[in-house]
């Protein structure tokens, strides 16, 4: 079928570009290649892939099912916290054990534990492990929590909200309230997650202290690329057939889907929970590259940015979400990183660090008003123009990758 064929082509092209991108960055990296791309930029690119993954999860809930969640970035942050707990615990344990090794009397288990707790929680004036760190010594447990914590939170929240038929803007406000509550909770010093200090030193992988960050950054780039590729495939599979049909039906006319016999609330819950798990995984890959996760990352504004990326990239098409996240986040870090030259108007100097948000807000409004399909919509134009004499669909994502790379170089 024409439609399916087209979608298959864009998936193959996307995956091929992702592989090519990963290989090129690896070959140019400091850790494994000729060293043209600095380690910090490899990390930026790796983080961007994680943002693209969470953007896909946002596109699934919003672009396909019409649920404007303003909480998916908080779930992303939770994933980061969950892996961060193990990283920080294990890393601190190594340091503590090696420093106590010289002691005349071998330390007891309790002494080691107290020393770790003192190291981690001294900053918030505590010396004991809170209950939520019960599994922090187990990588496997924390990896499971990366998926479970965002999933269960979204599941309970979604069950309550969807069951009461909360939809549209009211649901968005509810998700935002959830996000705000979560970040306010995490800001408290006595919550067991180090308050506004967050978890830090996450870039140091336990047991691998002799491996340089240049190499680790490439590992994470691979991991992020693999997760993005698999996440993309999963998303394509989900929206490919009848499930996608039902989701788009729910977006366009929820009541009609109900009268067709589909349990709309169950669908929403499954999708909301599933994408929450996806966001958690993306976060767990992002924060070890960032090195630190703190409550500020999970503030409501972050989830709004996520919606802006997806809107600018193009809702309701998966590569649109990827392009939006990559393009906007990279341009954003360029502008706010002080690399963009100031523009002097004589009477006033435009400093992009201050003005970038205005530009972003303005482009969001303009895209919403004049190009509701976002950047992804450009491919439709291209395709229509080139369709008669060549494979229009092939051109589309190609162009997108070009844009992605332009932005990153």
């Amino acid at each position: 079928m024409h439609l399916f064929h087209k979608r298959g082509a864009s998936t193959v092209i996307f995956l091929a570009l992702l592989v090519a991108f990963t290989i090129v960055v690896t070959l140019l990296s400091e850790g494994m290649g000729v060293g043209i791309i600095s380690t910090s930029f490899v990390k930026t690119l790796g983080k961007t892939l994680c943002l693209a993954l969470v953007a896909i999860s946002m596109d699934l809930v919003w672009g396909y099912a019409g649920i404007l969640s303003l909480g998916h970035f908080a779930l992303f942050g939770l994933g980061g916290y969950m892996i961060g707990m193990w990283l920080m615990y294990e890393r601190t344990r190594e340091i503590v054990v090696s420093s106590l090794a010289d002691a005349p009397i071998p330390p007891t288990v309790q002494e080691v534990s107290d020393a770790i707790a003192n190291q981690i929680f001294g900053v918030v004036g505590s010396t004991e492990f809170p209950l939520i760190w019960a599994f922090a010594d187990s990588l496997l447990a924390q990896l499971m929590l990366v998926v479970l914590v965002p999933g269960v939170l979204a599941g309970v929240f979604g069950w309550l909200a969807f069951r009461s038929r909360v939809a549209g803007v009211y649901l968005s406000i509810l998700t935002q309230a959830m996000t705000l509550a979560l970040s306010l909770y995490l800001f408290q010093n006595d919550n067991g997650l180090r308050g506004n200090n967050g978890l830090s030193g996450l870039q140091n992988l336990p047991g691998l202290s002799d491996v340089s960050q240049a190499v680790v950054s490439v590992w994470f780039l691979w991991g992020a690329a693999l997760a993005l590729g698999l996440g993309y495939l999963l998303a394509v599979w989900v929206v490919f057939g009848k499930f996608g049909s039902v989701l788009r039906g729910i977006r366009d006319d929820e009541a009609r889907v109900r009268f067709l016999g589909y349990p709309v609330e169950t669908y929403k819950l499954v999708l909301f929970t599933g994408t929450a798990c996806m966001a958690g995984i993306a976060g767990a890959l992002y924060y070890p590259q960032a090195g630190i996760v703190n409550p500020a990352e999970m503030a409501p504004i972050a989830s709004i940015y996520l919606a802006v990326w997806v809107a600018i990239g193009g809702r309701g098409r998966l590569y649109g979400a990827v392009i939006g996240a990559a393009f906007v986040s990279l341009v954003s870090s360029w502008f706010t990183g002080g690399q963009a030259p100031d523009v002097s108007l004589g009477f006033y100097t435009i400093k992009w660090v201050d003005w970038w948000l205005v530009v972003l807000g303005l482009s969001f409004v303009l895209v919403t008003l004049f190009a509701p399909k976002g950047i992804g919509g450009l491919f439709d134009l291209l395709e229509r123009r080139t369709a008669p004499d060549r494979h229009g669909a092939d051109l589309g994502p190609d162009q997108g990758a070009l844009r992605e790379k332009e932005a990153s170089e």
């Binding site: 439609l3 057939g241 009848k242 499930f243 049909s245 366009d252 016999g261 349990p263």
Partner: protein
């Protein structure tokens, strides 16, 4: 004749306004019925109650041979029990092709998991093609349904209803906005459908109702005013006063 749907003593009010007042209605398993009545007679509210959109204040709605009460069931559950509904305004999924619309409506398991793993079998596609033929959209299977004409959308919606294989079809003003030729086609589809299942048609157009050639129920102020053949009810003094006379 056995009863497929039995509505008895149902009342519902909105902010003190009695939309449905002690309404009783029943229909057999293979029967066509037209419901007529002036605006505000409660025709749409009646459909809302049967399909689970509106909960009545009192009364019973009993369904099928197992005497299942429909009150308290969700819309989706009622639809799965075999009640299909067509709205006054054509509501198809405009962003999706005719085929996708029909595949979504086709009677198959509705749960998220089975839908996730669902891939259309040849038999399903054949059934969709046959339905498209029946509703005159065989040449438009791959067009987005938003690009169809008003009449074609109405048919697509009827086609989606048939694809659900419901035991009862509730059809709200199927002929609204159609050309005479389209109306005739619609009549044929509905008459054909009523041979194997119950069909309830809400309609304003008397000529259309006459062509359906079925029993007519006249609603007025939320209850049944008269019931019988079209000639019988149009001769009824009360009916003339409240409805036809105006």
């Amino acid at each position: 004749m056995s009863t497929l749907l039995e509505v008895s003593g149902v009342s519902v009010s909105f902010d003190g306004f009695r939309a449905i007042n002690n309404l009783s209605f029943h229909i057999g398993p293979a029967e066509m019925r037209a419901i007529i009545g002036p605006n505000g007679a409660g025709k749409t509210t009646f459909m809302d109650i049967v399909t689970g959109k509106t909960k009545p204040d009192k009364g019973r709605v009993i369904w099928g041979a197992r005497h299942l009460s429909l009150l308290g069931l969700s819309e989706a559950r009622i639809a799965r029990e075999g009640i299909g509904r067509k709205f006054q305004k054509p509501t198809v999924f405009e962003d999706q092709s005719v085929q996708e619309n029909l595949l979504m409506a086709l009677k198959n398991p509705r749960g998220p998991l089975s839908v996730l793993f669902y891939r259309p079998l040849a038999a399903h596609l054949a059934r969709v093609a046959a339905l498209a033929e029946e509703i005159g959209l065989a040449d438009h299977l791959h067009r987005k349904s938003g690009a169809l004409s008003h009449g074609q959308k109405q048919w697509l919606e009827i086609g989606m209803l048939l694809a659900q294989e419901p035991k009862l079809l509730l059809v709200d003003e199927p002929a609204a906005g159609m050309t005479p030729a389209e109306r005739e086609h619609t009549t044929n589809i509905l008459v054909e459908a009523a041979k194997t299942r119950a069909v309830v048609v809400v309609e304003h157009d008397m000529e259309f109702v006459r062509r359906l050639g079925c029993k007519v129920t006249v609603l007025h102020e939320g209850s049944v005013l008269a019931e019988g053949s079209l000639d019988h009810v149009t001769a009824n003094k009360e009916v003339i006063d409240v409805y036809l006379g105006r």
